[in-house]
């Protein structure tokens, strides 16, 4: 039973009201900062990942690039020239069987064939270099949620239809229902005419400026790979396990298999750096808070030396005095963190309601999760007790006879 310890701890804290209020305030601010920043970064990261993965497949399997050829120039001894094979659209052999095998790999939830390659989009004076994405819409919709990204028009791909990036449409000055011409860019090509049936915003300006979606078989013919596909896109269950799933997929067929984690290496390391920075902020704020609690309790032990002596003379054990001060540290941490959690809720409310991006919408959604709050409160309480160890030991070691004379 800790009834005595709790009673004395509470009374001591109440007695040193100004001191207690200051340190509880310190813990409150520290916890609010940690919770706010953690929630902010979590919101930012999930938003970034959602945006990044929204427009691309988790895993892409492509034909292996042919080996680079080394040419030895006989006339100029010793100088080698490395020349990669000229780029051309390559297709995956037996892609139907390969795709079926991919779908059976654990962790893969969807697969979609894709025939993609470069082209030039023309309309009047406008010309843009674009990438054609020839897709089977029913399948591709399960890889990338195009429905969600459709800004105008309808989501359908009949022969002669194209879906274009919203930025591309703006560059060409074209609207839904209007026509654009696609050519392969060679001098003797007259190009084919397509009707824009919808506009897509992939969430990435560059992608939006060069994306053209068209039916798979139309793209196959346009790119000169009738019946072939240039890549197979996969969606996985857990986005952060994409690397491992990619490794399993690579064992199924002799293809180059890349996960989003590989192609977005820089993004991932930025996210990691962000997490690390958050972690450091957490650690340093905790240290500052603990130093604050410890310094206040050290002073409290000195101030309460006489009372400690009296309590010891009346039969309080060393252990009891130790627990009185440990409890004070814990109580300060608990009270401060509960108030800090409330403050962080206010901060997050303010951020979501008053901070807007250029388009007038909130930058990204931040949510305060119960586990985060629980984590903050438990950590603060433990930190408070940890900070109280040294002062509490000092209180416990006090010699009662000498303490009473203080």
């Amino acid at each position: 039973m800790m009834r005595f310890e709790l009673q004395i701890a509470l009374r001591f804290l109440r007695e040193g009201r100004a001191q207690s209020a200051l340190i509880v305030g310190g813990v409150m601010v520290g916890v609010a900062v940690v919770v706010f920043i953690s929630a902010l970064v979590a919101g930012l990261q999930s938003n970034t990942i959602r945006r990044t993965l929204g427009a691309q497949a988790h895993i892409v399997a492509k034909p292996i690039e042919p080996m680079a050829r080394v040419q030895i120039d006989a006339g100029d001894a010793g100088i080698a020239r490395v020349q990669t094979a000229p780029r051309k659209v390559r297709s995956i052999d037996n892609w139907q069987q390969v795709m079926a095998a991919f779908e059976a790999v654990p962790g893969v939830v969807a697969a979609s064939p894709m025939a993609s390659g470069p082209a030039i989009a023309l309309r009047g004076e406008g010309r843009n270099a674009v990438t054609l994405f020839g897709v089977d819409l029913a399948r591709y919709d399960r890889i990338v949620d195009l429905r969600d990204k459709l800004t105008s028009g309808t989501l359908r791909l009949e022969p002669g239809d194209v879906l274009v990036g919203a930025e591309l449409a703006r560059d060409l000055g074209a609207d839904v229902g209007e026509r654009i011409t696609l050519t392969d860019g060679t001098a003797n090509s007259t190009g084919e005419r397509f009707q824009i049936v919808g506009m897509i915003d992939p969430g990435n300006r560059d992608l939006s400026r060069r994306s053209v979606y068209l039916p798979l078989h139309v793209a196959q013919n346009f790119l000169g790979v009738p019946g072939g596909v240039t890549s197979i896109d996969l969606r996985v269950r857990d986005v952060f396990a994409a690397d491992a799933v990619a490794a399993r997929v690579a064992r199924v067929a002799p293809l180059t298999v890349e996960s989003w984690m590989l192609t977005n290496n820089q993004l991932l390391s930025a996210l990691n750096a962000q997490s690390m920075a958050t972690g450091m902020i957490r650690v340093f704020v905790s240290i500052v808070v603990m130093l604050g609690i410890a310094s206040v309790l050290v002073v409290a032990v000195v101030q309460k030396t006489r009372e400690i002596g009296i309590l010891r003379a009346m039969g309080a054990s060393r252990g009891q005095m130790l627990r009185v001060f440990l409890l004070q540290g814990g109580l300060v941490g608990l009270l401060g963190s509960v108030l800090g959690a409330l403050l962080s809720a206010v901060l997050i409310f303010g951020f979501s309601h008053f901070v807007h991006g250029a388009d007038g919408n909130p930058l990204f959604p931040i949510t305060l999760t119960l586990p985060l709050l629980g984590y903050a409160c438990i950590t603060a309480t433990l930190c408070g007790m940890l900070a109280a160890i040294a002062p509490a030991r000092r209180a416990a070691r006090l010699d009662p006879a000498r303490a009473m004379r203080a």
Binding site: R11, F12, L311, M314, G315, S317, R318
Partner: protein, 236 residues
């Protein structure tokens, strides 16, 4: 408790400070003292004679450098701190010159504190008992006042009620009337006497006041760390 009914027995108590340093000083040079149940004893002597040190040793607040202390039949040497603390809380009551009440707690809470420390739930019965003690020391109605709201004499009465709340075998009082006026001091002494008579509690009282000392059953005089006289006035 053993057959002799001694509440306290000291034999060969020596106490040195700064042992092993050039400024080592022996304060007590071999004290032998016995106090039996119900005795009302004054401990007198000039300042610096070692009275407070002796009282701290008897109160188990300090350990002697050598010698044996028996409290209520328990040999206390070689006990660990927790055992000493328990023995202290069960057998000894303290009344100090400077009251030593806990300023954050009311008079009633101060009286109940030894029970709270012992982990007892403050039952209605315990509370009634504490109130009766406060009543007995003349503080009926002041139980919810904080020490700062009470006069010096009243604070000392609270301290006495607190010392008696555990029904100790021996009450140690270090100049309990040291900073009180003559009238109040006499009242406090009368109060201690009454408890001595009614409960058979033994008292060992350090005092500078020769008139108050004269009212005690027994006067032990300490000078330069030795007992120089031990006289009884009342037949035991």
């Amino acid at each position: 408790m053993n057959a002799s009914a001694d509440v306290l027995r000291l034999s060969g108590i020596r106490k040195s400070y700064n042992v092993g340093t050039p400024v080592e000083a022996e304060i007590l040079h071999g004290i032998d003292l016995r106090i039996t149940r119900g005795e009302f004893t004054a401990l007198i002597g000039p300042s610096g004679s070692g009275k407070s040190t002796l009282l701290n040793i008897i109160g188990l607040l300090e350990a002697p450098t050598s010698g044996e202390v028996d409290i209520a039949g328990h040999r206390v040497s070689h006990h660990d701190d927790d055992t000493l603390t328990r023995l202290r809380s069960q057998t000894l009551g303290f009344v100090f010159q400077f009251h030593h009440l806990l300023p954050a707690f009311s008079a009633l809470e101060n009286v109940l504190m030894p029970q709270i420390i012992a982990g007892h739930r403050v039952t209605a019965a315990l509370q009634r008992e504490a109130l009766a003690l406060l009543d007995a020391v003349g503080l009926g109605g002041a139980e919810h006042k904080k020490p700062a709201e009470l006069s010096g004499g009243m604070q000392q009465r609270v301290a006495i009620a607190r010392a008696l709340s555990i029904r100790p075998a021996l009450v140690l009082a270090d100049e309990p009337t040291g900073n009180l006026d003559t009238k109040t001091a006499a009242d406090i002494f009368t109060l201690l006497r009454a408890f001595n008579r009614d409960f058979g509690t033994s008292f060992l009282i350090v005092t500078h006041d020769p008139r108050l000392a004269a009212t005690c059953d027994r006067r032990v005089t300490l000078a330069d760390g030795q007992i120089v006289s031990d006289e009884r006035t009342a037949p035991m």
